[in-house]
Each structure stands twice: as structure tokens, then as C-alpha cells.
């Protein structure tokens, strides 16, 4: 018998009111493994990420945003439904009846205004799982406040941990928490599906992206709640290693990370740079010695790296068991042999933008379940399939809904 790997979420239906990044990133892994997702937008109120540049060919149009494409690599059906139109309520109710999960990423107020609060959903489908994520969660005085990824990096400490000791933090490059919070969400959402399968019970999930992101900072928070010590960034140095930093290499703005933790790695490092005697130099023998003389040590490291390409530094160091890694720019990343080995980024054809290079599946590989990557959908791309096929409206009814501005 040929082993046919199954798709774990085959038959799981998700009604997707999420937008921007965190919500879609949460749902993508379910789509990679077989869930059916209907994404609800409207022409008047489309996914806000469609307005965020950069855009393909520099044209700021809703089907051309890089970011929208990037956040929508899980396969979806896309429909327009103007939730502010009274005629939309009945359609939404029917879609809720179809769904196992209703997901949204609005601040408090929007789903409520549309009559899609948890109590109402439960009346339509008693075992529904309502998954909600917003910046501050759905209770408390800030429940109604709209979020921004770059604000969340500030509130969650991600900005504070990236910086030099003599300056205010440099902070995260992008909305890093948009990649942190979804991972907590996906974990919780799959647990809820499993729970429902075993018990028949639905679930209401209220995720504050702030609360989830703070989990990563637990030791720093405990250092404050226990010892009263506040955290301040210290550049690239780390207490348990020296050298530990990012060092200038040959080339225009090229760098390589090197991190020496053990005495064995230190001896390996000295061999690689052709100065075996340095390992016995009283300034650098033990980790404590190296930490004490770290400025001097860093000068020696950079004296050697600055005359070599970052790739040469990495290759020589790693061959001798010394941790090192090229500070990869976008081109290095595009050519990275390890990412290529996992076939991590893939090209996909898109009807408006043509080929886009950065489609991706999950960040792990399962030995007995294949994944499937989708492409970003167009606004209302699957209206016909959903309205006339899935919901069974006649062509005339469908045309009327469109004419009346319901869809």
C-alpha cells in the first residue's frame, strides 16, 4: 500500500476577519496543513496591510503590497462582504454556521458592532471557537485601542534589548512582535481544536499581543520583581562569552558574528587567526580574563576579520569549531545554502504582480505531513465560489447582493 500522508486540518473551516500581520500569521500554519479559510474583506474596508509599501513596481495599489503577500502565504478563499451593510448580517450568520473557528484581530468594538460577539456566535454554533487577538486584549481600559507592531515592540521590551549602553535603545528594525505573538496564538488555537475534538466544547480565546510578547522577557522581569534591577541593553556583548560580537570584515559594510564561550573554542579561535600563543597570553587565558580585557580582545579580533570576507571568516571559524556567522544581507539570505536546502522561500505566480519571490511555508518540517503554500488572494477573488457554490445563492441573488452593495 502506498502511504498517503494526510492533511491534519482537512475539514476544519475558519472564518477569517483578521487583518494586517498577527492574525493572518496565526492562521497560516493551519492553512499550510489543510484548513479551509475564508478571508472576509470589503472594497471599502480592505486589509490594512494592502496599503503598506513597498509595492511591486512602486505602484501603491491594494494587490501589490509586498507585506500583504508575505502575510497571506497560507491558502485562503477571499470574499467581499460589507459588514456595515444591514444585509450582510444574514450572510455572516450563515458563514459562522459553516465555520469551526471565527477569528478576528480588531480592537474591541468592531465584531461587537457587527453582532459577532462570542455570545451571538455561540447561539449560531454552540461549539464555535472564537479566536481574538489585539494589542491590549479585550478587557480593561485599553481594549478598544488599535495596535501597531512598532508600538508593541516598545511595550514588550523588544526595543529595549537592542541597543548600545551609551545611547537610548536602537530598537527593533520592524514589527518583530508581529512574528512573536502569532506563535503563541497558533499554539493556543490548535490546542483549542484538539480540546473541542475530545470534549465537544468550543472556546473563547482573548489574546493580548502585549501579554504574549512579554513572556519572552520573563527572566528580565523577574530580575526586576525579585532584585529590583531594570534592564538596559549592552550592545553585542554577553556575560558568558568573549569575544562575543559583530566584527567588521572586508567589503562595503560587511560583518561577521563571532562568539567564543568555552576555553576549547578560544584555543580554536587562536589557531584560526594564526596566533596560537595568544591562547596562553595571561590577558586572555580564562573567560574572566577575556571579559576583563574585552576591549583589547575585540581589537585583535577585528584586526584579523577586517582583512577577510565575512564568508571566509565564518567558514574558517566553523571548520575549527568556533561559532561564527556571516551578518547576512538580503542577497546573502536569498543565496543562503541552508535556507535553500529547506526550500524555505519559494516563488509564486500572482495574477497582478507576476512572480513574487518570498512565499514560505511553516518554519518547521513534519516527517509525516506535507504542507501547501498559497498565494495572496485578490479582493473578492472567490465570491462566486463562496456565494453561489458554498452558500448556494442563485446567480440572480448573487448579482442582487453585489448591486445592493452587500458584497
Amino acid at each position: 500500500m502506498i502511504f498517503m500522508p494526510s492533511r491534519p486540518f482537512e475539514g476544519i473551516n475558519i472564518l477569517d476577519f483578521t487583518w494586517t500581520a498577527t492574525g493572518p500569521f496565526t492562521l497560516n500554519p493551519l492553512a499550510f496543513y489543510g484548513a479551509n479559510i475564508i478571508k472576509v474583506e470589503s472594497r471599502a474596508r480592505y486589509d490594512a496591510l494592502r496599503s503598506l509599501g513597498p509595492f511591486k513596481d512602486g505602484r501603491a495599489e491594494p494587490e501589490r503590497s509586498f507585506y500583504f503577500s508575505y502575510a497571506q502565504t497560507g491558502k485562503r478563499y477571499n470574499i467581499t462582504l460589507n459588514m456595515d451593510h444591514p444585509g450582510a448580517r444574514e450572510i455572516a450568520r450563515r458563514l459562522v454556521g459553516w465555520a469551526d473557528i471565527v477569528a478576528d484581530s480588531y480592537a474591541t468594538g468592531t465584531m461587537e458592532k457587527w453582532g459577532l460577539d462570542y455570545e451571538s456566535l455561540k447561539k449560531i454554533k454552540p461549539d464555535i471557537i472564537m479566536f481574538r487577538t489585539c494589542m491590549h486584549g479585550h478587557t480593561g481600559p485599553l481594549a478598544g485601542q488599535h495596535g501597531q507592531g512598532f508600538i508593541l515592540t516598545a511595550l514588550s521590551g523588544v526595543d529595549a534589548i537592542i541597543g548600545w549602553p551609551d545611547r537610548a535603545p536602537a530598537g527593533a528594525f520592524g514589527a518583530l512582535t508581529d512574528f512573536i505573538a502569532p506563535q503563541f496564538n497558533t499554539i493556543c488555537l490548535i490546542a483549542a481544536l484538539d480540546y473541542r475534538r475530545r470534549t465537544g466544547k468550543g472556546q473563547y480565546i482573548d489574546q493580548s499581543q502585549h501579554e504574549a510578547s512579554l513572556q519572552l522577557m520573563t527572566p528580565l522581569i523577574l530580575d526586576y520583581t525579585v532584585n529590583g534591577r531594570d534592564f538596559h541593553a549592552s550592545g553585542n556583548r554577553l556575560s558568558g562569552a568573549a569575544p562575543h560580537g559583530i566584527y567588521r570584515c572586508l567589503g562595503d559594510d560587511r560583518w561577521c558574528a563571532i562568539a567564543v564561550f568555552t576555553d576549547g573554542e578560544w584555543q580554536g579561535f587562536c589557531q584560526v587567526i594564526g596566533q596560537p600563543a595568544l591562547a596562553a597570553d595571561p590577558r586572555f587565558v580564562t573567560l574572566a580574563d577575556r571579559k576583563r580585557n574585552e576591549d583589547e580582545l575585540d581589537c585583535i579580533v577585528e584586526g584579523w576579520t577586517a582583512r577577510r570576507s565575512p564568508h571566509e571568516v565564518m567558514t574558517l571559524m566553523q571548520a575549527s569549531g568556533v561559532p561564527a556567522g556571516v551578518v547576512a544581507d538580503a542577497r546573502d539570505q536569498a543565496e543562503d545554502p541552508q535556507l535553500a536546502h529547506y526550500n524555505f522561500f519559494e516563488e509564486r505566480e500572482h495574477p497582478v504582480t507576476g512572480k513574487m519571490p518570498f512565499y514560505h511555508g511553516p518554519c518547521f518540517r513534519l516527517s509525516a505531513a506535507p504542507y501547501e503554500i498559497g498565494r495572496a488572494t485578490l479582493i473578492g477573488e472567490h465570491n462566486e465560489y463562496v456565494y453561489t457554490g458554498l452558500l448556494g445563492y442563485s446567480d440572480e441573488e448573487w448579482a442582487r447582493l453585489a448591486a445592493e452593495g452587500v458584497i
Binding site: P8, Y33, W164, A168, G174, F179, D194, V226, F364
Partner: protein
């Protein structure tokens, strides 16, 4: 334990073999109710040497790193590198649902404890492996501390100030991206097991999680526009397309130094954000710190993709002056009163003081009788209507649950345990 507090994953058992690279994953399963057993080498996990420490006393039972990421786990000691240890581990695998590990690729195979061997013992077992680069591929045997992965992923190149080397986080975060991804994979496998009855292996390379997090601004501009994005610190470069289609950038600050730290603010002009931008503008004018350009600005007609660098500087430099005149707390309070989307760059002190988190009862007091203390922890990562997500038990002391697991569950005698202890197996 009553059902209300049981947690959604309460029927499942997890064996957690991870070092500090994977602690978070097992903890999250425990938060959702799974029975997580942390397996440490005899004498304690090396990560117990990681600071910070309780009252700054370096001691294996006082590592706050350990305590923070091993809540909701029971703890046993076991040396799986010994023959007897392997035997005991296999016995535990018979009744387990998920094993999480963060050894170098191939290490467990070398011990005869790889997925292939464990699958024979328990076909439903799910094994999740956390590594730097993955189980296969040209870099699989590379040494992979956090900074190396941060660098190779593409995140390193875009972080930091333009006038200094690229930055990695001073508090390492790289492995969180695979610890959580491994758990997502494990739960997908668990869900699939409900249909197939079979477990599987999960390969979670940190490099993939971090490369994903670099986002499309980095990954898209090179292949599509031939452009390499560089680090720009507190600046958020805004693209503008010239008449010839060429994209150039103007530099607009996204974060600013203030009197005692940093604040983040961007003058968005989308309709929903206009009240925020107008609010700060009025505030700066009221305090007499607005340049002429800011006094006369009309944000309703402003377009960041059209303005010149000079025009942008003329308004934002007033913001910078204003922020340096205030503390984080003053700016935060004023912003909230005026509906301005401005946020301090929080450090732990700010997090703990933040009212919203208090009102949502985020912080959880956990008893530590062994330290004669009550310690405030971050609590649930999510709020649920049915079943809880919370800290049910503090992190285990070294071998704390050896009697519970070895004697009560595996039926070993006290003498036997004593013998194993002397032989260095537990």
C-alpha cells in the same frame, strides 16, 4: 484538580529534554495544562548556571532564567547517556505523547534514542527537535549560539545604528523562534494523530523561524528591486517613487531619545491616525517648542511619499526637542490624556507599572516556600473562557519529583533509586 483549572492539554504528557534553547516550548504546553516532565542530567541542568539569580546569589536553585521558563513542569534527574538511563527513558516514552529535545543533530540517534527507535516503542509518540540550523543541510553541524543565528538569518544586518556595527539583542531571543515553532509542529502532529494514530518527527531549525521574521521589506527589495536594506536605528525610511519610477527614501524618526530613555511616535496621516498626529502637534505648540513649519503644518494634506527630506526634518526636529524636555512617564501620561499614539520604550520597570496589565490581572504571584518568598511572574499568555492558562506550579528543584515518577509511577524501590543515584544515573 477541578476541570475549570485543568487546561486544554491536560490529558497529555510531555517529556522535556531541552536545554535553555528549548525551555519555553515545554512551559507553554504546561501553561495549557499538559503534564510536562523536565528531565535534567544528574546534578542539574547546566542552564541553572544562567543568571540573573535570586538576590544575586549564583546557585543552581536560584537561577531566575531557570525559574522563569520551567514553571508548570515537574522535574526528574536522569542521565540518558548511560545504558540504564536509556532504559528508563524508553519506559517513560511508552506513556508519553510528546518528547521535546534541543540536542545537536544526531545526538539522540547516537544514543539509540532517535525518532526511529522511539517510534518502535510508542508509534503514537511525537518527537520535536529544536536546533540552530536543522537536522539536515550544509550548516547542520555549525555551532549555533543566538548571535550566529541572528546574524545569518538576515536580522542582524538591519538592526542597529548606521554609524556603528550591526546589533544583536543584548538578551538573546533567537531560540524562542524555534522553541515555539517546534510546539506548533508538535500540536499539529498531535491533532493529526487523532486521525492516524501515528506520531511523527518535527524538525524545527531556528534559522527558518528567524528568516521568516526578517519580513518582506528585507526579502522583497533585493530580488525585486535590487536593493539591500540597511540598518537605520531610530529612523524609519519612507519610500517615494520619482517620475522615472526610481524609489528613493526620506528618513523619518520612529523613535526618539527622551530625558530618561526612549519613546516611539510616528506622525501618521491616515484618517484614523490624524487625531494622534494633530494631538502631539498641538501639545508641542502649546509648550512653545514648535518650529514654524510645525505650527503651519496641515496633516490632512501631508503625504509622506511626496514631501522632501528638508520638509520632514523641519517638523520632526520639533518633536525631538519636545521629547528631550520630558520623561517617559510625562509623555506617556500626556499622550493618553490627549489620544496620542505615543509609547515609551518599556523596560521591566515600566511593564510592571503598566495599568492595563494590572487590570487584566496579568501578573501572577507564585509561592516559593523553599526561598520563603512570593515572586511576581508574567502570568497567562492568553485568556480563555474554558479551562485556564496559568502558572500552576513553580519550576522544579533538582530531582524534586524523582520519588513521584520513579517510585509511584514506575514502581521502583527506594533502594533501587539509591543505587541509581550512586551510579550517577539519576
Amino acid at each position: 484538580m477541578d476541570e475549570k483549572n485543568a487546561g486544554m492539554l491536560s490529558p497529555y504528557r510531555v517529556l522535556d529534554l531541552t536545554g535553555e534553547r528549548g525551555f519555553l516550548g515545554g512551559k507553554l504546553l504546561g501553561d495549557l495544562g499538559a503534564d510536562v516532565i523536565k528531565i535534567e542530567p544528574p546534578g542539574g541542568d547546566p542552564a541553572r548556571k544562567l543568571g540573573p539569580f535570586y538576590h544575586d546569589e549564583p546557585h543552581p536553585e536560584k537561577s531566575l532564567y531557570w525559574m522563569g521558563f520551567n514553571t508548570n513542569k515537574r522535574g526528574i534527574t536522569l542521565d540518558i547517556a548511560t545504558a540504564r538511563g536509556r532504559e528508563i527513558f524508553k519506559k517513560l516514552c511508552r506513556k508519553a505523547d510528546i518528547v521535546i529535545e534541543s540536542f545537536d543533530p544526531g545526538y539522540l540517534d547516537g544514543l539509540g534514542l532517535g525518532y526511529g527507535s522511539l517510534e518502535e516503542i510508542n508509534p503514537g509518540l511525537i518527537v520535536a527537535s529544536i536546533t540552530g540550523f536543522g537536522q539536515t543541510g550544509p550548516y547542520k553541524d555549525f555551532k549555533a549560539p543566538d548571535i550566529v543565528l541572528w546574524a545569518l538569518s538576515g536580522l542582524g544586518y538591519v538592526h542597529g545604528d548606521a554609524d556603528r556595527p550591526p546589533l544583536s539583542p543584548s538578551y538573546p531571543v533567537s531560540y524562542f523562534f524555534s522553541a515555539m515553532q517546534a510546539i506548533i509542529g508538535a500540536l499539529i502532529a498531535l491533532f493529526q494523530r487523532g486521525t492516524t494514530g501515528r506520531g511523527q518527527h518535527i524538525d524545527a531549525p531556528t534559522l527558518l523561524g528567524l528568516a521568516w521574521a526578517t519580513g518582506p521589506e528585507v526579502q522583497g527589495l533585493w530580488p525585486l528591486n535590487g536593493e539591500i536594506v540597511k540598518r537605520s536605528g531610530r529612523i524609519w525610511p519612507r519610500p517615494r517613487t520619482g517620475p522615472d519610477g526610481e524609489v528613493t527614501y526620506i528618513n523619518v524618526p520612529l523613535s526618539y531619545p527622551c530625558r530618561d530613555g526612549g519613546v516611539k511616535f510616528f506622525p501618521f496621516v491616515e484618517p484614523g491616525m490624524l487625531p494622534s498626529t494633530n494631538g502631539l502637534t498641538r501639545w508641542v505648540i502649546e509648550e512653545g517648542l514648535a518650529s514654524e513649519a510645525l505650527q503651519n503644518v496641515d496633516w490632512t494634506t501631508w503625504d509622506w511619499s511626496e514631501v522632501t527630506q528638508e520638509a520632514a526634518d523641519a517638523v520632526t526636529e520639533s518633536f525631538g526637542r519636545f521629547f528631550m524636555n520630558h520623561t517617559k512617564e510625562e509623555l506617556w501620561q500626556g499622550a493618553r490624556d490627549r489620544g496620542i499614539q505615543l509609547y515609551p520604550v518599556f523596560t521591566p520597570r515600566d511593564m510592571v507599572a503598566f495599568p492595563q496589565l494590572k487590570i487584566r490581572q496579568y501578573w501572577q504571584e507564585v509561592d516559593h516556600p523553599e526561598l520563603d518568598a512570593r515572586i511576581t511572574y508574567p502570568g497567562a499568555f492568553v485568556k480563555l473562557a474554558d479551562g485556564s492558562c496559568e502558572i500552576r506550579r513553580r519550576a522544579p528543584r533538582i530531582g524534586e519529583h524523582n520519588p513521584e515518577i520513579y517510585e509511584k509511577e514506575l514502581g521502583m524501590s527506594k533502594q533501587e533509586l539509591e543505587k541509581l543515584k550512586r551510579a550517577g544515573v539519576i
